[in-house]
């Protein structure tokens, strides 16, 4: 199978998952025990208001009609009106999405910069003191909840030694990076142990692969061996592992945005739950689901581009 056919097949595979995501998000409001419209508006709302909202959300139609109504709206980018902000949900999400995306991208870059050299060092000198320290520290940070890590970084680097701001997003490239350093570091520290663990294991496997053993018997120096034969395959492993953990990264953003008061969609979904703002919750859940599907798709495509051996079936 050639690349074009692979791409076509891979893109088609996402369709059932996309339908599943839309269906799940659709069911969110329908599964609320009791009358969703009544719960959203509260006990003091008049019956007319409740009936109006029910009609607005299409809740008085038969369930299958409701679904197609919902699907049609989504395809037009119409996610309803926020009950809390009294504004278009899609509009509010689009305003805040850049914050979350910047945070996630920054965290990925930071994670790669930290985990790749460390896993490499640990894998090359398996069992050495470097390996022991890297593994010890990653077991320790794996046990640290992100919100606690974030608050401690705040106490240390924003209160006791005030290098970084306590909260907010800032404006302009460097200012934003400066504001996002501690949040991104928090996500990185909770993600790094998972990445290092998997990456170290696959690097060790690569170093014992036949082609590397062959190069070693040819008398290649250790440095050349790693640069020429291990690093490229290690890069593939990194891409895969990052793709697998993207969901973990997004979950991390929910907690970290709340801790650092960042105006992203992660903090927004938490505050929307307290406000019982269901259209907003639906919208954000949908965006998160779509992001994961798209990123997994991109990972697979990137993988097949990096590795000519990848099997297309």
């Amino acid at each position: 199978m050639n690349t074009a056919a692979f791409l076509r097949k891979r893109v088609l595979q996402t369709i059932p998952v996309l339908i599943g995501i839309v269906l799940t998000v659709f069911l969110v409001v329908r599964l609320i025990p009791g009358d969703p419209a009544r719960i959203m508006l509260g006990m003091r709302a008049t019956d007319e208001k409740v009936a109006e909202l029910r009609a607005d959300l299409g809740l008085d139609l038969p369930i299958w009609q409701q679904f197609f109504h919902f699907l049609g709206n989504i395809l037009q980018g119409e996610l309803g009106t926020s009950l809390f902000y009294r504004r278009d949900v899609a509009e509010v999400i689009m305003e805040r999405l850049p914050v979350t995306v910047t945070l996630v991208v920054f965290s990925v870059v930071l994670s790669v910069l930290i985990t790749v050299p460390l896993s490499m060092a640990a894998a090359v000198r398996q069992g050495s003191w470097i390996d022991q320290i890297v593994r010890g520290i990653s077991t320790l940070t794996l046990s640290m909840p992100g919100f606690w890590l974030g608050l401690n970084l705040l106490i240390l680097f924003a209160v006791i030694y005030p290098f970084f701001p306590i909260s907010g997003f800032g404006s302009g490239f460097t200012d934003i990076l400066w504001h996002l350093t501690l949040p991104a570091l928090t996500i990185t520290l909770s993600l790094a142990p998972i990445l290092i663990r998997t990456l170290r294991a696959s690097l060790i496997e690569i170093m014992h692969a036949p082609h590397v053993e062959y190069a070693r018997t040819k008398g290649l120096s250790q440095g050349r061996l790693i640069r020429r034969h291990v690093l490229r395959n290690g890069l593939l492993a990194t891409v895969t592992i990052l793709g697998v953990n993207i969901g973990w990264l997004m979950g991390g953003s929910v907690v970290v945005e709340t801790v650092f008061s960042l105006p992203g969609i992660g903090a927004l979904i938490v505050s929307s739950i307290s406000a019982r703002d269901y259209p907003m919750i639906q919208g954000i859940a949908l965006v998160f689901g779509l992001l994961v599907v798209v990123i997994n798709l991109l990972t697979d495509i990137l993988y097949s581009a990096l590795d000519p051996r990848v099997s297309y079936d």
């Binding site: 794996l142 909840p145 919100f147 606690w148 608050l151 969901g247 973990w248 907690v255 919750i281 859940a285």
Partner: protein
């Protein structure tokens, strides 16, 4: 021929003690740590120096001292006593939030793998959909439907966590169901239920238990995160995540309200990780 196979393995006790220690350092440390934490949580009311709910408004926000090893909070309550009393709740939540998804995932994964065909396709499509959402986002979405609280958290973590177990069990069942003893059981005309429980389940369960051990670390981190966000256990119950959330407002003046309760979570996580890795290592060596 036969005596080569029948060579007895040296009993574990015959190994020099230093070797047991060297091979299983993590397991021993993790097990001891978890044992101590369990004991501390069971006997919390005997070993805690103060009443966890007793307010003392003249001694609010006191830094750690001999009388208050972890300091006091904004109501003058002793943080160390509160951390000890919260242990029971946090450990129980962690355990149940692994047990429920494990049961659901094992059942559905087993059914999918055993029966195959349309049943398999339907269950696995559901698994795909459930794993498409980021774990925490899915949990938060379900809690949004049910409203914040402990029961919602159990349901949410079960629904969000089972798919990994289903994948794992299905893959194992696909291998085991081709084994001769299963074919033999089928040829004998045993019923599906009996074959699944007596012949297949015992042979597919080990990897799920190893996974459950590491999963429990992540689950405890998630449940404390949810309570921190105000979506899980509700105040005024003493729970580690809630205690840290309460301390969030005081990070400028009272670092101990945040840092010290969190150490309890780190300690539990560390104990479980070490224990899980150690058990996985033993099982791998046996296999």
């Amino acid at each position: 021929m036969t005596d080569a196979v029948a060579l007895p393995l040296p009993p574990a006790a015959a190994q020099p003690r230093s070797r047991v220690w060297r091979d299983h350092t993590g397991l021993i440390i993790g097990g001891t740590l978890l044992g101590l934490i369990l004991l501390a949580s069971i006997f919390a009311s005997y070993i805690s120096p103060h009443d966890p709910l007793q307010q003392d408004l003249r001694n609010t926000l006191q830094p750690p001292s001999l009388a208050h090893p972890f300091g006091t909070d904004n109501f003058g309550r002793d943080i160390f006593s509160r951390v000890l009393h919260a242990a029971k709740l946090d450990l129980m939540i962690g355990f149940l939030c692994v047990l429920f998804p494990w049961m659901l995932g094992t059942a559905l994964g087993g059914i999918a793998g055993y029966f195959g065909g349309l049943t398999d396709t339907i269950i696995m499509r559901v698994v795909d959909t459930f794993s498409a959402f980021p774990f925490l986002v899915m949990v938060i979405g379900i809690i949004a439907i049910l409203g914040p609280g402990l029961i919602s958290m159990y349901i949410a973590l079960t629904l969000a966590g089972w798919s990994m177990y289903a994948r794992l069990v299905r893959a194992e069942v696909l291998v085991v169901k081709k084994a001769e003893y299963v074919l033999a059981a089928r040829a004998l005309g045993y019923q599906h239920g009996r074959i699944m429980f007596r012949h297949i389940l015992p042979n597919v369960i080990t990897p799920t238990i190893i996974f459950a051990m590491t999963d429990m670390v992540l689950v405890i981190l998630s449940t404390t995160s949810l309570s921190f966000l105000g979506l899980g256990v509700q105040p005024p119950m003493a729970e580690w995540g809630i205690m840290i959330a309460e301390g969030k407002g005081f990070i400028l003046t009272a670092w101990w309200m945040v840092t010290l309760p969190g150490l309890a979570i780190v300690l539990v996580g560390l104990a479980l990780s070490l224990l899980g890795d150690g058990i996985a290592k033993i099982l791998r060596e046996r296999a």
